[in-house]
């Protein structure tokens, strides 16, 4: 069953929600974080036919958005349950809600709107869709919503329970009347009487039936079916329905409904019975008279709203006729210049293609460029361009926004702070290891980082865990000698830890950490051998390495020169440290050699959503920089 349905705005306010089983707010929060902000999970486009899903804590979330209004519709249900009608429900609810409340939502400077009246509409939708999914014979049970609407009109501020209760009350009557076929014979004893009574004065009959229903329900579920048409309707899922009403229902959500019934029954049972019998027939009669109108109203209204919304959508897509199309084209051109044009996929396609080519020229991998363009498209379709802005400039600003969002790190990347935190809490040194493909500048960037740390008075041990390439250890030795000279005045100290060639790198790393702990170094930098990212044999060593050395930070060095391969490099290295451990950041080297073609940054961040920590911008030890998102975006868009 559906657990929760919420309608919220992009600014985070819940406009309307319906909870069947309470779900922690963190489930939807993490949906927003992962999908809308960090874009870790890329939703498939709508035309695949399925709404995108997101799984968290045993719940499945499906959502849809109304972009121009800034609304998000989220349905939450247990992953164990397979609900086929959620997509349809989301669509219908979106159409209904935008139809009913778009004016109010558009009105700015208010956070919430009064959506009390939406509840009956929603209940009706649920009933209809659940009914359809069962393909039961009598789905068209109109009364419920009628009285729901009725009551909603009568008392807007009434809590939802009365609304809920009423919809179901007439349901039993109608089903009993209209579906004698379904009604099995074992409930006969009550139904004839009920039928008569309904003809005469409905209410008591209904009451009788309910009492009866309770009785029978206690003994056996199927036997009661005559009156429990809605149970039938909703299920072969009799079990489904029962579970909700039985397990959860009895004490939590719907029970309020049931309790209400029984209360009215109890009250009616005693001395008030007579008065009830006298009064109720009228009210019931009045209700049928008015009820059918109103009820019809609600249903028609609902269908009308939905079809209107759908029609609007369709109308905006095809322009019919020769004159119409040419006029539309001219108008479109005009609007393209002046602004105020509602963007469609077709409008955007050409400009986006241009944008994609532009990004490719900037050395962004195709995959990343396509994804960025898609996210821009998702962002823009259905929006109106501002006055005097062209599609191109709209796309540009949107692309800049997307790039900034992608490159901006989620958490602080302050290396010095985290070193300080680790050192103050444990005796273990802070371990940083550097990985990467051959020849990208691992050792160079390692010594740059060492220089930066030495300037901040850290005691650094450099571990030469590249035991493979000849000259690697000696190269580090030269770096250490230079760094010693340079850091003499600054007050840092640096040593090299080496065990020669041919040994196991992971063991050397572990030994280096132990050595550093014993000798009072507070940072260990581990250099590793370069390895090809698509060689499984070489990459498998990394898992052991991560397990033995337990690095606090693993940085991957990537060249700014590399092209499309950057995506695969980042992915493979990120996945190679075993479950639960990945890269912590990228160091992009040789940025000074590429000019404005800094697309590699984007490709790598896109592939893994791991931030860029350092940029290498020259040959000197001091040529290490933090990332300035704004300037990178400017370069990419120039």
């Amino acid at each position: 069953m559906l657990d929760t349905f919420e309608i919220l705005t992009t600014s985070g306010v819940v406009l309307w929600s319906r909870t069947y089983v309470p779900v922690g707010a963190n489930v939807i929060d993490s949906l927003i974080r992962d999908v809308f902000i960090e874009e870790r999970i890329v939703p498939q486009p709508d035309d695949v036919g399925q709404k995108p899903t997101y799984k968290k804590d045993g719940y499945t979330l499906k959502w849809t958005t109304a972009k121009d209004l800034g609304l998000i519709f989220v349905a939450v249900y247990q992953s164990l349950v397979h609900l086929t009608w959620i997509d349809k429900l989301l669509d219908n609810v979106r159409a209904l809600f935008t139809g009913l409340y778009s004016e109010q939502v558009k009105e700015k400077k208010a956070s919430t709107i009064d959506t009390q009246k939406f509840t009956p509409y929603f209940e009706r939708q649920i009933q209809e869709l659940e009914g359809q999914s069962d393909a039961s014979t009598d789905v068209k049970l109109t009364p419920p919503s009628s009285s729901g609407n009725d009551s909603a009109e009568e008392k807007e501020h009434a809590p939802t329970f009365p609304l809920l209760q009423k919809p179901q009350r007439p349901l039993y009557d109608t089903s009993a009347e209209s579906t004698p076929v379904v009604t099995p014979s074992n409930s006969r004893p009550t139904t004839p009487g009920q039928g008569h009574l309904i003809m005469a004065k409905g209410k008591p009959g209904q009451k009788l039936s309910r009492r009866d229903r309770k009785k029978v329900a206690a003994t056996s579920a199927p036997a009661s079916s005559g009156d429990e048409a809605n149970v039938k309707r909703k299920g072969k899922g009799a079990t489904k329905k029962n579970r909700v009403w039985g397990e959860f229902g009895a004490d939590e959500e719907d029970p309020d409904v049931v309790l209400d019934y029984s209360q009215s029954d109890l009250r009616g049972d005693g001395a008030e019975q007579e008065t009830l019998e006298e009064i109720k027939p009228e009210t019931w009669g009045r209700k049928t008279g008015k009820g059918q109108f109103v009820l019809k109203d609600l249903d028609e209204e609902m269908d009308a709203i939905i079809s209107e919304q759908n029609a609007k959508k369709e109308k905006s897509q095809p322009s019919s006729g020769l004159v119409g199309s040419s006029l539309g084209a001219i108008g479109g051109l005009f609007r393209n210049v002046v602004g105020g044009k509602t963007l469609t996929k077709e409008d955007l396609d050409k400009s986006l293609k241009g944008m994609e080519d532009h990004l490719l020229k900037k050395n962004v991998a195709r995959e990343a460029a396509v994804r960025l363009c898609e996210s821009v498209e998702r962002d823009l379709v259905g929006l109106k361009t501002g006055s005097f802005t062209t599609i191109e400039s709209t796309i540009r600003t949107s692309m800049e926004k997307a790039l900034t969002k992608m490159l901006t790190p989620t958490t602080s990347l302050d290396l010095l702070r985290s070193i300080q935190t680790v050192n103050s809490t444990t005796t273990r040194p802070y371990v940083i290891s550097i990985v990467g493909v051959n020849g990208v500048g691992k050792s160079t960037n390692l010594s740059k980082i060492a220089f930066f740390l030495l300037q901040n008075q850290h005691k650094v041990l450099i571990a030469a865990a590249d035991t493979f390439r000849s000259g690697a250890v000696e190269q580090l030795g030269v770096h250490v000698k230079n760094l010693k000279e340079l850091s003499k005045r600054e007050g840092g100290s640096v040593e090299i830890f080496e065990k020669g060639y041919g040994k196991d790198a992971a063991n050397i790393a572990a030994d280096a950490v132990a050595f550093a702990e014993k000798n009072g170094f507070n940072v260990v930098l581990i250099d590793t051998a370069g390895r090809r990212h698509n060689d499984a044999r070489l990459m498998s060593n990394l898992e052991k390495f991560a397990k033995l050395a337990k690095p606090d930070k693993i940085f991957m060095v990537g060249e700014a020169l590399v092209g499309t391969d950057s995506v695969a490099q980042a992915r493979n290295f990120n996945a190679s440290f075993g479950p639960g451990r990945g890269l912590d950041g990228f160091v992009i080297s040789k940025c000074d050699t590429v000019g404005d073609m800094v697309g590699t940054l984007v490709s790598m961040v896109h592939a893994t959503s791991i931030p860029v920590v350092f940029l290498g911008v020259g040959q000197h030890y001091a040529d290490l920089r933090g990332l300035n998102v704004g300037s990178v975006c400017r370069l990419l868009m120039s």
Binding site: E6, L8, T9, T10, S11, G12, V13, V14, S17, A25, I28, D29, I32, R33, F36, I37, E38, G70, K108, K109, A110, S111, T112, T404, K405, T408, P409, T410, T411, S412, D414, L415, L416, R417, Q420, T421, F452, Q455, N456, C591, D592, V598, F614, L615, V617, G618, D623, L624, R625, G626, L627, N628, G630, S631, V632, R634, L635
Partner: protein, 293 residues
Amino acid sequence: MAWYDEDSWLTAAFAPNIATIAVTLLLALVLPFLVHAFIYRAQSPAALPTFLLIGPSGAGKTAFLTLTECNTPANTHTSTAPLAIDALLPDAHPPSSASFRSAGDPAYERARRFLLLDTPGHGKLRRLALAQLTSAANIRAIIFVVDASSVADEAGLNDAADYLHDVLLSLQKRYTGAKTSKGPKEIPVLVAANKLDVFTALPPHVVKVSLERAITDVRKSRAKGLKDSGAALGGTDDGLDDERECLGEGGEGPFEFRQMEEVGTTVDVQGGNVLGGDGSDVDKWWAWIAEQL
């Protein structure tokens, strides 16, 4: 043809021509409307004072916003877009600028109104808020909402301190970068310690001390940190001469909020809770807002 000729335009303008009459009539009729439109438009944007809600994600910014608007906090989730609402100060807190007025006075009603601007607090979206800070001219004050219970642990504290440091630094830059000798208008900051009803929440004065301590750390490591890539990559020299600025008194010694007064920013710390078992308690914040209005 000179202007004094028989059929010159000046002669025509004074002659009883149909065209002349028409033009004159048109001018006489349209001009009042234009003047009215001009004056009316010039006066209408009586800009409301804006209060900027800022702070890390999950601190309770949007909840406070809904509480201000409807007197009951609505359910909220993580925000992804900013939101501005027209708010009215509750009756119990008369705005300081109109405290001498009586309740029915329209000027009093006007003084009670303000704009509350909520911003998303997620790390990737903070630039939206900081952009607001540097651009919007009409910001009266900033409310930095922080979760007093998450400040108790290191990660939450660092996150909040990082953000507050950035906010205060951009306020300081705004002051020091001002062109006039008078300096820009003061923007006070309220650090609103939210969720005091939670058992693990720190009391406001502890929140203040720990934030100051954490900001000292942030400042220290920022000063030592690496330079930005902007100048190196962009080739533009505007980044080069831009000396790194330190927050408060040259970045020496421990940071205190008091140091911000020198650059026209007073920082107050007040506690409260938007949600809670026995209703919400944000009177102190409202009193603070009333003081600023």
